[in-house]
């Protein structure tokens, strides 16, 4: 079986201009959204508290919002997370309030009214929890805590459950944001340096521009659709940057090879034939990697959702930019046969 039966060179470069205009427009749109709307940063970057609650039946988000509004003065968010039963609450940080107590107060407030699908007995548990949290932390006893836990265990699966609480102080948030930006910069510089050594300058410049274009598009998508941009998403973007640069590398490898073998051909013909020769491989390998990321998107649960989304988008944009953007930029930068084909001794020896 072979999917791609390409009998002649596909004139990719003929359409390059159209695609480049499209790229430029989408790129500018993404930059515009990033500049004016900004990213929906997770609390890892902004500081604050996140709570994940799991109800027994589909939760009533409005009722939850009203209950929180009684105690919480700041700008909080309530949204469903993964399924209708699971709810994610994001609270802003209040200077001076000890970590964790904000979440405790909100949870105690939420359980004052019966939650969706809860058993009768939960009311007693919630009352005990509220009483427990009224006690200053320093005066709480191990016995009281243990009694509460026993009760929680007994009613497990019948009452609303606090699945996760995360608190990030504001100073940590700003540091993580800085480290993230630094990581992005270092990865870009590192890859640029490698390509500059490995290839000719014009190619490495073209590859870097093309792949930065991918990064901006992926991050731009997160800005446009207000998807939450978290630390794992940043990691995914960086990983995919390293991965998709390699696509440009493969095409440029072929361009170099074809410059050697196709002595008479024009630059455009060489680029077209190189892309044509690699297109089957490009689609199949990326198809395989996409299969993995899409399964992650479908089966990885809500915790991996945005991470898998960033990987998937990154791979798609990576293929697009390697085929239509990178080579075209190299062409605009005026790449010539003499840039790549150096004296014969440079050639990699090929064993028979």
């Amino acid at each position: 079986m072979e999917f791609f039966r390409i009998s002649r060179t596909i004139p990719f470069m003929r359409y390059a201009l159209v695609f480049n205009v499209i790229s430029l427009i989408t790129f500018l749109t993404a930059v515009g959204f990033l500049a004016f709307r900004g990213l929906n940063l997770s609390i890892e970057f902004t500081g604050g508290t996140v709570m994940e609650l799991s109800y027994r039946a589909p939760a009533n988000l409005d009722a939850i919002r009203n209950a929180i509004a009684l105690t919480e003065k700041g700008d909080f968010q309530v949204q469903s997370f993964g399924s209708a039963q699971d709810v994610l609450i994001r609270l802003p940080s209040h200077p001076g309030l000890p970590s964790g107590q904000q979440a405790e107060a909100v949870f105690a407030g939420l359980t004052a009214a019966p939650g969706a699908g809860e058993a009768e007995a939960c009311a007693a548990l919630h009352a005990d929890y509220a009483r427990f949290t009224q006690v200053p932390v320093a005066d709480r006893t191990a016995e009281a805590a243990e009694a509460l836990h026993k009760q929680q265990d007994r009613l497990a699966g019948q009452c609303v459950e606090m699945r996760r609480v995360e608190y990030v102080g504001p100073q940590v948030g700003s540091e993580l944001a800085q480290d993230g930006a630094l990581a992005l910069l270092m990865v870009v510089l590192g890859i640029a340096a490698y390509l500059a050594v490995r290839f000719e300058k014009k190619f490495s410049a073209a590859a870097i521009i093309a792949n930065l274009h991918d990064v901006v598009l992926v991050i731009g998508m997160f800005a446009i659709f207000r998807w939450e941009f978290s630390l794992p998403v940043l990691a995914a973007v960086l990983a995919v940057l390293g991965y998709s640069v390699n696509e440009s590398v493969i095409i440029f490898d072929r361009v170099r090879e074809h410059f050697r073998t196709m002595r008479k051909a024009s630059v455009v013909e060489v680029i077209d034939s190189a892309i044509t020769a690699t297109i089957s491989r490009t689609i199949i390998t990326h198809g395989a990697t996409l299969t993995m990321t899409v399964t992650m998107l479908l089966f990885g649960g809500p915790a991996l959702h945005n991470f898998a989304l960033a990987l998937t988008l990154g791979i798609l944009f990576g293929v697009y930019s390697s085929v239509f953007v990178a080579a075209a930029i190299a062409k605009y930068l005026g790449v010539q046969r003499s840039d790549l084909v150096r004296p014969v001794k440079e050639e990699r020896p090929v064993s028979p």
Binding site: M1, S99, T133, R140, Y194, A239, Y243, F299, A303
Partner: protein, 627 residues
Amino acid sequence: MNRYPLWKYLLIVVALVFGVTYTIPNFFGSSPAVQIASIKATVHADTTLMSQVEAVLKGAGITHQGIALETSGINPAIRVRLADTDTQARAQKLLETALNPDRSDPAYVVADNLLPRTPQWLQDLHALPMYLGLDLRGGVHFLMQVDLDEAINKRLQTVENDLRNLLRDKDIHHAGIQRSGDQLEIRFHDLQSRTQAIGVIHDSNADLMLKEGGTEADPLIIATLTPAARTAVQDNALKQNITTLKNRINELAVSEPVVQQQGADRVVVELPGIQDTARAKNIIGRTATLEARLVDVSADGAAATSGVVPPPFGSERFTIGRGTPVVLKKEVIFSGSQLQGAQATFDDKQQAAVAVELNDAAGRTMQQVTRENLKKPMAVVLLERGRGEVLTVATIQSEFGSRFQITGLGNAQTANDLALLLRAGALAAPMQIIEERQIGPSLGAANIDAGFRATAFGFAAVSVFMIIYYMLFGAVSVLSLAINLLLLVGMLSLLQATLTLPGIAAIAFTLGMAIDANVLINERIREELRKGTSPQQAITQGYERAFATILDSNVTTLIAGIFLFMLGSGPVRGFAVVHVLGILTSIFSAVFVSRGVVNLIYGSRRRLQSVAIGQIWRPATGGSTRA
């Protein structure tokens, strides 16, 4: 021809054996156990306790499946493996009451635990299951910021007092000592006393950097801590806080707690399995005080020691470690905040000792007390949770001041422990929680399921595609992909790297990327065949030509992975570790192993007419043939 020398096959076999050995511990699951650890600073779980535990269990007719003393962790603990959870519950209750006769003052915590069911011979090879991150097993995570400025502040305060006393003792007149920020300004009436002072201070305190300043009429010295002294103060403060935290966490009876320095001024605390953040915080943030007091050697005091009569007025009864009672006077000679340092050392008879250094004020009190109480015993007591625990009792041998030694400790280990306890009694600098995560156990289990499912389904889908599309070569690719997974999990287990949810995602992503190399090779071979190259040569050239490209693509991903590891933290670092290791294992398996398998299948056939790599379509003839 396409043949591997024997050593290459041997290498592959060794790698496989390694992979299998270190991967299988992950599949043994875990069995219920109870863990016994001490919560007293002076009591340690040891072999005596172990035989006591065995006797208790035997007495109640409970058979255990192994008992071991673990000394590798933060706190030595005894772990008893049991058949099922019912036995576990019984043993836990039984041991708790048997080991803690005094319920109001327990010495040990007996907690339920899970132990990996890995066979002993594997454990001897250090083959253990992967360490799961909190997002997979549930628990609490704290990131604490240590206020190191406060530690410097405290130190400067002491230095200021010391300087005042020093100048007074040496009879050098000064016009006042003032703090301004991180420096001390000492004013003088004339230049001569300043010169004198510089000499004196220089001789007595090596930690200070002195600079002359002011005018001729109003001369002054600006004293600052040397950078080395500053770093030492901060390092000690951080270490002391970490030790204190470790001691306190023992009380929570967590099976594998993590207390680790992160960066210059932060401490990470991870408590798997703990759900009650409030209580954990309460214990972590508790204040403890250290006090030195005289032993009440009066007749009444001696009588009270046996516990028959109440201690006399002005005295209190304490216990040393688990047993020996001692009656101490209530007056405090010095407290922990006046303690400047405690180091394990050797005395002039080459016996283990602890060198203690007090600040000047405490030194003066000490001088007076020791003069009046020669040859009498003195004790150091740690007060925590309203209860006291005597760390050591020593006899005053001579009159001394702010520097003295505690001797007669037996061995170096005891001296080390005592020095640590003296230093760690209280937190050196205030700490603040700046990040907190609490993950419920059900969420952790759900995360493992989701991550596992995603990886398995993805792997299956890719495998099916590869085999249909590339036939035998596809099967070889899948085999090498499976070996890649095996080696990756083996490496992660061997390194005991923390596996997080993004880490599982990285495994899936790495597999997706690893298949890239095999596709590259297979496509190249097809291309060579299409050109009409003979099958054997097509295999050789396919592998060789693809290798340069594979290397290139992996280098760029490796760059991204390394920077992520350097700049990431927590779960992201888990992602980066898997990513980087995965790239390394994938080069090995995709290029080296898969070539080996192909060589094994085709390499020895001389007149090879065709290889099963799927249909090769030749554009020139327009038709399709099997090559």
